[in-house]
Amino acid sequence: MARMKVATVWFGGCSGCHMSFLDLDEFLIDLAAQVDIVYSPVADVKEYPSHVDICLIEGAVANDEHVELAHLIRQNTDIIIAFGDCAVTGNVTAMRNPLGTIEPILQKVYVEAATLHGRIPFEKGIVPQLLDRVLPLHQVIEVDAYLPGCPPPAERIKAVLVKALSGEPLTLEGSDLKPG
């Protein structure tokens, strides 16, 4: 059987979910024996591959680059897992939403609060533009499974990966559904 192609992606999050992924400890060695990590913040790959079996997406959708990549991932991926509370609910990344659209927030942070050279960062094609509203992943693309937690405990990540590798439905129950 061909080795499964697994990707992990980092959108608007703190990378805590990826840190928790690394907390899988020796299971990472078992995992490495069964899958190829084809795209990830911890692998030096620039382009999202044309076919991926499972993709874990950490973080909320917060800028236009996230939106574009999310759609590409959806096209090229069989199973997409919303990885952690930011992807599932927006979580901390979305706490700016009640404050309104992005312009006044950038103004306040980068201009009014700056002590030196206050300026809103803008480089077309280089600095991704922030969305007016941070969104959970499933409001942008179809999501196949949800892995909540801030971060999801390593055991919970393992439970989902084991199911995914054996082709079982990726359903969690009870305390494995706890956000936060």
């Binding site: 599932v88 609910t89 979305a94 559904l177 706890k178």
Partner: protein, 238 residues
């Protein structure tokens, strides 16, 4: 006192004629999920999680405020009810800004507990992200409207147990808010005795002790039923 006999999930049970479906189910060991219900204060039917099906009644009935009747056939856990309960919990999460990871009540929250119990994986409804206030004018306790689910437990403990009726609900629908006195900052609410019963009653992190940080706020609801039991039954020793 008359006794009523009925069935709940096919199980034959008997109840006093003033008991509700919820009380009867609990005595029979049948679990119905609740959120606004709080032992020690009167039921209200605010959260709708305890909705049940009764044969012959086309609409769903809240078990906490529906009194038993002779020959009732009650279903508490049908596919339809599970669908509605899931929808209710998802709507509660979407309505305000419940950010469990940075909430004082994380790991000790009844909304979080119900989400797990009912099997919520995510909210299918668009988060509203309303801009809401946090009132810390009281000095010892605070109210964070971002986390309030309008269960009105605070209103009921304050009125029924403390007898102060500092809390109430103003507005309707999405504009509804719990308020203190005539919608003044909590610190200016002259009727508040600072007893802290609302802090214990609140199912989420909405009403909190100032100084509590993430996941630190554990509440003790048994204090409230202890007071009621002591008052009504004169039982206050273990």
């Amino acid at each position: 006192m008359a006794v009523k006999t009925l069935t709940i999930d096919g199980k034959h049970v008997s109840a006093r004629d003033d008991q509700t479906i919820l009380q009867t189910a609990r005595e029979a060991g049948i679990r119905i999920p609740t959120l606004c219900d709080l032992p020690g204060v009167g039921p209200l039917g605010a959260c709708r999680l305890c909705l049940v099906e009764v044969t012959g009644v086309p609409k769903l009935l809240p078990a906490c405020v529906t009194v038993v009747q002779e020959g009732m056939e009650v279903q508490t856990n049908t596919e339809r009810l599970r669908r509605y309960r899931l929808m209710i919990v998802e709507l509660l999460f979407a309505e305000r800004n419940h950010v469990c990871s940075v909430c004082v009540a994380n790991n000790h929250c009844e909304l979080q507990d119900r989400a797990m119990e009912i099997g919520m994986t995510h909210s299918r409804f668009a988060y509203q992200f309303p801009k809401l206030d946090v009132d810390t004018t009281h000095g010892r306790f605070g109210i964070d409207h971002n986390r309030c689910i309008l269960c009105s437990r605070c209103v009921r403990v304050c009125d029924e147990i403390e007898g102060a009726h500092t809390w109430d609900v103003s507005g309707r629908g999405a504009n509804a808010r719990v308020i203190t006195d005539m919608n003044v900052p909590w610190g200016e609410a002259a009727s508040c005795t600072s007893c802290g019963k609302c802090v214990q009653a609140c199912p989420t992190g909405a009403i909190f002790r100032i100084g509590a940080t993430v996941a630190e706020l554990e509440k003790d609801r048994t204090q409230l039923s202890f007071i009621v039991n002591a008052r009504e039954n004169k039982q206050w020793l273990g």
